[in-house]
Amino acid sequence: MHELGIANSILEAVRTEVARVPGRYATKVSLRIGEMTAVDPEALRFSFEILSQDTDLAGLQLEIEICPRRNRCEECGQEFTVRDYDIQCPQCGSLRTQFLSGDEFAFGYLEVEEYGTSSVGAQSTE
């Protein structure tokens, strides 16, 4: 269960980013998690909620995009989603295909809002 530590790094990163845009607060952070990573989205969500409640980031939404495994065919160049571990190229049938993506664990974007422009999520005024 390493999701607690990960949730903590996410909140720290959000704080760093928010500090760069004075007068705004964060409403949503998005993550891209490849299906070949060992990160459990549910455990991460749970940790994220526990760690953010009653803090300056309470109410921050977490959006998780699960990125499937994608391969590229070395014969015909076709890029395709690998389903059920089947790495055969759907276009030409070749088995010579290379891993392309699906092990990412990255931020996507951060949504920020100016203080006073919305009633939802605004916690403090500073």
């Binding site: 269960m1 990960i6 790094s9 845009v21 070949m36 990160v39 571990y85 931020f107």
Partner: protein, 226 residues
């Protein structure tokens, strides 16, 4: 509302330290290997077998991770090579900073081989790059042949799978072919060696793999330092 793109990895800080370690290992020609498995698959046993096969004076060291005890380090120290225990105090994996810290007083130019035994866990260690040249996953025959499909990430990220405890095959229902097939489904290029750390089967093949890697690592070293 405004959307700010965040073009970075979540484990940015760990990855930065790991990249730094990797560059130092390459510079010094040190082969660093990260051993990962469930608790009890035989990481320490394999390292004991490996250390006992190496000639005295071989420039090898071991870092071994454990949540609580120093047991593994005590087992490994008997072979006369430098060994340090990393006690994580609850954390279920090693991270790059722990490696950096524990290497601080070991000059890398004196090391040809660095073995890292991760905390026994098939999930969490997979997310943390330690700067290693290769991850090696151990699977023992008492764990079931479906493990690569249940924990795909670590099999996907490992260069080598060591199937351990083959001496127990007559006593447990474990289909070796299915295990190999499952590992290759997840990672078509994974190399596989079958061993028994108890009886010694297959260890030659593992030591040959190790020697090849070692040569390859030396060749990566910039000519000026070699």
């Amino acid at each position: 509302m405004e959307r700010v793109p965040l073009e970075r990895k979540v484990l940015n800080e760990n990855d930065r330290i790991a990249a730094d370690l990797r560059a130092r290992f390459q510079e010094q020609g040190t082969l660093c290997l990260n051993f990962i498995s469930s608790p009890g698959s035989g990481k320490t046993s394999l390292l004991e077998r490996t250390l006992s096969s190496l000639p005295k004076g071989e420039r090898v060291a071991v870092l071994t991770g454990d949540i609580q005890t120093e047991n593994d380090a005590n087992r490994l120290k008997r072979y006369g090579f430098p060994v340090k225990q990393i006690t994580t105090g609850g954390t279920c994996h090693l991270d790059a900073r722990m490696i950096e810290r524990h290497l601080a007083d070991w000059p890398l130019e004196d090391l040809d081989l660095l073995f890292i035994e991760n905390v026994g866990n098939l999930v969490c260690p997979s997310s943390y790059d330690l700067g290693e040249e290769a991850k090696i996953v151990l699977l023992s025959v008492t764990e079931g042949e479906d493990k690569p499909l249940k924990y795909p990430s670590i099999f996907f990220k490992s260069q080598l799978m060591i199937l351990n405890k083959v001496d127990l095959l007559p006593y447990v229902p474990f289909n070796v072919n299915a295990a190999v097939e499952n590992a290759r489904k997840v990672h078509p290029g994974i190399e596989i060696v079958k061993v028994s750390c108890l009886k010694g089967n297959g260890l030659d093949e593992w030591l040959i793999w190790l020697e090849k890697k070692r040569q390859a690592q030396k060749e990566k070293q910039p000519a000026a330092v070699r």
